[in-house]
């Protein structure tokens, strides 16, 4: 628990330092990368609630990421074109207010996760993976074939959405917004895991029969965790759309689900700071290795295998073990 906290703070400090470097060195590209890392970390933190704390191997989190993205894109494009979202039964206008968009994105992702979770939780193991994947693929093909919002080509919207008087197009402000949201989400998850619900979730993962025995239906606990998980990843999707001022079906693709899972596994499954470290290292590798070779994803795959073989916990687990060894050496 303690080492998890230290690791989380270290990962967050590193991300902030990267942002600061971009700001002080006046390198907007670097700042944009740091913002992207914060957003990916948020998406991973969402998945981590299901995967790490609930033991639910979801290969469908791109669905929530994409729903968040399209929520932002659709609302903003309607507002910019002065077209109402719908005129019947009530007139609903689009919006460019970021907080409103975030709420809609979270609601939409949460709502979609409910039937998805209900159905996939009836099964376990490989079937759970396949059904979550199937749900996300369904959305992907829907987005590709639905012409209203760009279909395969996606949807661009030129300016970022608005947050109070902040200039969201300024890379430093935008980075700070993403970073602050990530920090709030991590605090929320830390609180969640220490609550009554967090304790029940641990038992639902490790021994569902026992949880039922003490009067709590494991499936209700897991479904709740799945929905919370989707909401957090959905928020990340809305931020990602704003970052790029663009959404496309690729946000819904299984590649995206896999990538979000890589952030978590690389950084440390079930560790608070795991997805932060995972997303940062992922983007770092993408930039560094991507410059040398087009096959950097292959090298990433090799790195992943090594990390998984070295034991659970990814980078966070590595940190824990060296910490324990040091403590043992001193004691």
């Amino acid at each position: 628990m303690r080492s998890d906290m230290i690791f989380t703070l270290a990962a967050m400090a590193a991300l902030l330092a990267a942002g600061l470097y971009g700001y002080l060195g006046d390198e907007p590209f670097f700042l944009t990368l740091a913002a992207k890392a914060a957003i990916f970390a948020l998406a991973g933190a969402g998945l981590n609630i299901a995967l790490g704390y609930g033991g639910l191997v979801s290969l469908g989190h791109a669905a929530f990421f994409g729903i968040g993205g399209y929520a932002a894109g659709i609302l903003a494009s309607h507002a910019r074109n002065y077209e109402p979202l719908m005129s019947w039964p009530v007139e609903l206008a689009g919006t460019t207010s970021a907080p409103l968009i975030w709420i809609v994105a979270m609601l939409a992702a949460g709502l979609f996760s409910l039937p998805m979770g209900l159905l996939s939780l009836r099964t376990g193991g490989v079937y759970f993976i396949m059904i979550t994947l199937a749900f996300a693929q369904m959305l992907y093909y829907f987005a590709v074939s639905w012409p209203a919002y760009g279909g395969e080509d996606g949807l661009s919207f030129y300016v970022r959405n608005e947050l109070g008087g902040l200039s969201t197009m300024d890379p430093w402000s935008w980075f700070l917004i993403c970073y602050a949201i990530l920090a709030v989400a991590l605090v929320f998850i830390a609180v969640l895991t220490r609550s009554r619900f967090g304790l029940a979730l641990t038992m639902a993962r490790e021994n569902p029969l026992r949880l039922g025995n003490i009067g709590v239906a494991p499936r209700r606990v897991l479904l709740t965790a799945f929905v919370i998980s989707a909401i957090v990843t959905g928020l990340a999707g809305a931020l990602y759309a704003d970052l790029n001022r663009f959404v496309s079906p690729s946000m819904l693709s299984w590649h995206m689900s896999g990538e979000i899972m890589v952030f978590v596994i690389l950084g440390g499954v079930g560790r608070l700071g795991g997805p932060v470290a995972g997303a940062c290292v992922f983007i770092l590798l993408e930039q560094v290795l991507g410059g040398f070779t087009e096959y950097w994803q292959f090298l990433l795959g090799v790195a992943l295998i090594v990390i998984v073989l070295m034991g659970s916990g990814g980078l966070a687990g590595l940190f824990e073990r060296t910490g324990v060894r040091k403590a043992a050496a001193h004691g």
Binding site: V191, L192, R194, S195, R196, F197, G198, L199, A200, T202, M203, R205, E206, N207, L209, R210, L211, G212, N213, I214, G215, V216, A217, V221, T224
Partner: protein, 249 residues
């Protein structure tokens, strides 16, 4: 006579051609310790699984506190006051004993769907959990993750969790197996204390313990109850003699 807390009638469950439970009628009365004995494979654990709702019966009825519960899920039966220990400990390896007991206590204290308040700050809950852990004799090991507990300690924790549910009916499936002499003696003393507070079904192989503790004894052989009575009656029952006691270890 007051109605029994738990009643089964004609309770049956087969696995393929094997009838693991075959028309079992058992009553557990308020305040009694009712021992269920029988050779390995007699169907005792299957009976407990049926009553607790882990598996569904093929036929027969189960009444808990006068209400039919045969089709209710395990969680609903737990909510009505049924607790059960597992023959093979069923615990969460990364959680401490204290956390297990706290979680069990929540059933009667607002449930688990609270997301913000840190559970560690609920001192009343912790105090109550520690009281129960002290009762089963493992307070000093309360904050060690289950993965680091001995087999005997896990058995003790099983009992603590069951007690935390504040049950009306307590089903104990070989709770003393693997506990060691000291642990068994302490549990026997504890069960003696609990007598009167709840109805207890005790599955146990050690005849001395059974005859010392049980108000009534049912003998199960091949999925059927072949005799029910007090210690004296069971000792002198010819069927039991030949079917079970004769070749007991």
């Amino acid at each position: 006579m007051v109605e029994p807390l738990l009643t089964t009638r004609g309770l049956s469950r087969g696995f393929g051609a094997l009838k693991a439970c075959d028309g079992v009628d058992i009553d557990i009365r308020a305040g009694e310790i009712h021992a269920l004995i029988g050779p390995n494979g007699a169907g005792k654990s299957t009976f407990v699984k049926l009553v607790s709702g882990e598996i569904a019966p093929d036929s027969g009825s189960i009444h808990l506190l006068g209400k039919p519960v045969g089709t209710l899920p395990m969680t609903a039966r737990a909510g009505m006051g049924m607790a059960r220990s597992f023959q093979v400990s069923a615990l969460a390896p990364s959680m401490t004993g204290l956390e297990h007991v706290v979680l069990a206590l929540l059933q009667h204290r607002g449930g688990v769907f609270h997301f913000f308040r840190p559970i560690a700050r609920d001192t009343g809950l912790k105090a109550r959990a520690e009281e129960i852990l002290a009762r089963v004799g493992m307070l000093d090991r309360a904050t060690i993750p289950v993965a680091g507990l001995s087999h005997g300690e896990r058995r003790q924790l099983e009992i603590a969790i069951a007690l935390a549910l504040e049950p009306r009916v307590l089903l104990l499936d070989e709770p003393m197996a693997g506990m060691g002499a000291e642990g068994s003696a302490r549990l026997a003393a504890l069960l003696n204390e609990l007598r009167g507070d709840m109805g207890i079904l005790l599955i146990e192989h050690d005849m001395e313990t059974v005859f010392a503790l049980a108000d009534r004894i049912s003998v199960m052989v091949g999925g059927q109850i072949v005799a029910t009575g007090n210690a004296g009656e069971i000792r002198s029952n010819a069927t039991v003699q030949s079917a079970y006691l004769g070749d007991a270890p």
